[in-house]
Symmetry: C2
Subunit: 412 residues, 2 copies
């Protein structure tokens, strides 16, 4: 089944709102055996909406739209579909009753402009929207389907999950695509590609490599008549990959680095503390983005000023000798925070966020360090120049990679 | 000038990567007097890329593409443009030299697949990309323009800002739209709308209100033959708004709360320290997202465990009496960090990130406090339940709003 997604709204077109709906839907279509070929954004203009609908109607079996179902003159998705199919919209008495009841339940009269939210055309049936006033439209004619959903993400997501996706699943008679993502770190994309190459020919399996901020991902995909059949194809390939990549694999599918570290620390009953300057708190914040972080993460010190570092136990002599921006100071920060907070592991991060250099070091120079329970420290340095926010993010990831390496080393 | 944006890449189409490039560009087109009519996403398929290019070429004066300029077989933007214009790509000797030098500078040989990044067609000239190996293409024929930029956001953003936007500005001969956004906080959207209503009829001016996470924004827009003329229309309306909203206005255009606070603290030679638990470092990280934060922000303590709070000077008796999740503990944290770090102001944040309750308090319960130079404290509480990440972000914003209020109060 060939599908396309159309997002409707001038605010989305002009980038004032980021369109997350399309990605939400797109991610799930492969599992339904539906091929997505295009996504389009069009503003609140009836001519251009209708033109976009016509093209989609001609080339796709399934058209999914979001947005343009509000009560105002700007909302023209219903008009666009009616114009595409040359059908006349009429107020549906049942929908009108429900709409008026919705407003009554909230204690204020329904503005008459809202009445268009009770419209239907002969080829359309309403899709329930308990989170708002705009029902969706399921439009079907000549073997083709248009599904119109509201643009407000919580309304759209509920309608998609409870109404649209199940209906599409029922109709799906074709092949289902199931994927498994294996996440590696520490090996370049070219090498990962070479190491996995002997699996590429596996019948009924597709394998892709993707370079991501948190390492190289391998995605195994299998199409089959059922999810069970697809998983049965993926499983032996996944086992093979585990034997090829070993400890370079740190996670699967939706796993995050911070979630993996939490699991590792908690299962081994270890604790962690961090001292950071260039990342300004982002290290601690990232670690605490996952529920249950409190089970191993005791706390952090954002020692933005040098006197704060010394106050927190960093040896002033080391700063004087090597400078604040040095692997030695990073190591000393990791050691100091481990002692100060009484944790098993400590992380230290120092560097230059930019845009100006510091101590003659270029913006984007970062040194991270890990202090381990045996009193050892390891350090890693990086340098990039893509702006302050990117430097902070990359520095946090570098520290997490080093921490994982230290945890693995200890285990051996 | 009619424009459209095309994002190329299967990963964007399938929602694995959110397309932020299109929004980045779209937001800036109105200022150049360019009307944007469509945004399209198409996967890595030469047939569909070419088809999309053909339609765009026929209906738009300016087509802006992002993505598909990498070195692999999947990257087919150059092929698509060549096929659209029936022109033959050739390796450009100058580009090839630069490309090989780029790899040499990094100490490894250039894979021969990369050579296509040195391609040009007769109608294209290269656009410089100092952040990566893929130059852009500026394609011009029959009075129409296609601009191809890389998909990696930092590369795209730099190319857009330094090369593409200035060139489009030079060519802009039509009406220019200039906008000024006034950012308010502490007043609801309905009230803001009512207060500003008497300005709505101003000739040659459009005014819109937008509810955003950091308050209600008012946008004043003016179209005119030149930027100067447009600004002359906006200016008196902006003055009026200043007199209507007074100190409820906290910023303009691209201003951020953290930037505003930095300016305020630095100009008044004040310093700040924070102690946070539920936000886990995000407060400090947000404050240090702006350059120059070190001029006033001394540091932060992420006291995730209760013993860390007491260690940092929080009175254990207050925690025992009121609980960790209380306005009293937040105020005590703000007081303690101010003393511990020797700053003029202190912020304290405590709460429940979720998903589980703590001390019988629901997830999303947060108390923030500010300690001021006179030894006073003020607190603000919030409660929301939209997941851990949203709670953290909203808590940080609430603390910044309270801090600004305290700064304003002091001034009076």
């Amino acid at each position: 089944m060939k599908a396309e997604i159309i997002a409707i709204g001038t605010e989305i077109l002009l980038g004032e709102i980021i369109d997350t709906n399309s990605a939400h839907i797109a991610q799930q279509l492969p599992e339904l055996g539906i091929d997505l070929f295009y996504k389009t954004v069009v503003g609140d203009n009836l001519g251009r909406i209708t033109e976009t609908f016509e093209r989609a109607w001609n080339r796709s079996d399934l058209v999914i739209t979001t947005g343009g179902l509000g009560p105002t003159e700007d909302d023209m998705t219903r008009e666009g579909v009616a114009s595409l199919l040359h059908e006349e919209p009429r107020v549906d008495p049942g929908l009108e009753r429900r709409l008026r009841a919705w407003f009554e339940g909230r204690g204020f009269p329904m503005p008459e402009t809202n009445l268009k939210q009770a419209w239907l055309i002969p080829s359309a049936r309403a899709i329930d929207n308990p989170r708002g006033t705009a029902p969706g439209w399921w439009v079907e004619r000549d073997g083709r389907v248009i599904v119109c959903m509201p643009g407000v993400p919580p309304e759209m997501e509920r309608m998609w999950a409870n109404e649209v996706r199940p209906e599409l699943e029922r109709r799906s008679d074709g092949q289902v695509l199931v994927t498994r993502t294996i996440k590696t770190v520490g090996i370049g994309e070219g090498t990962v590609d070479e190491m996995a190459r002997r699996l590429y020919g596996t019948p009924g399996i597709g394998i892709g490599t993707y370079a991501r901020a948190d390492g190289v991902h391998l995605r195994i995909g299998a199409k089959a008549a059922s999810r069970e059949d697809a998983w049965a194809r993926i499983e032996p390939v996944e086992r093979e990959m585990e034997s090829i990549f070993g400890t370079a694999i740190w996670g699967r599918d939706d796993d995050t680095f911070e979630g993996m570290l939490r699991d590792e620390f908690v299962s081994r009953r270890l604790t962690l503390g961090v001292m950071e300057s260039v990342t300004g708190g982002l290290m601690a914040s990232t670690l605490t983005d996952v529920p249950g972080a409190a089970d191993y993460f005791k706390g952090g010190l954002v020692t933005y000023w040098t006197d704060q570092k010394i106050e927190a136990g960093v040896d002033a002599a080391i700063i004087a000798e090597y400078g604040v921006i040095s692997p030695e100071t990073a190591a000393e920060m990791a050691r100091a925070v481990r002692l100060r907070l009484g944790t098993d592991y400590g992380i230290g991060i120092t560097g230059v966020g930019g845009p100006d250099p510091m101590e003659g070091k270029a913006p984007g120079t970062v040194h991270v360090a890990v202090a381990d329970p045996e009193g050892g420290t390891s350090t890693l340095s990086m340098s990039m120049n893509q702006g302050r926010a990117a430097v902070k993010r990359r520095a946090v990831l570098t520290a997490m990679i080093l921490l994982r390496r230290s945890l693995l080393g200890e285990r051996r």
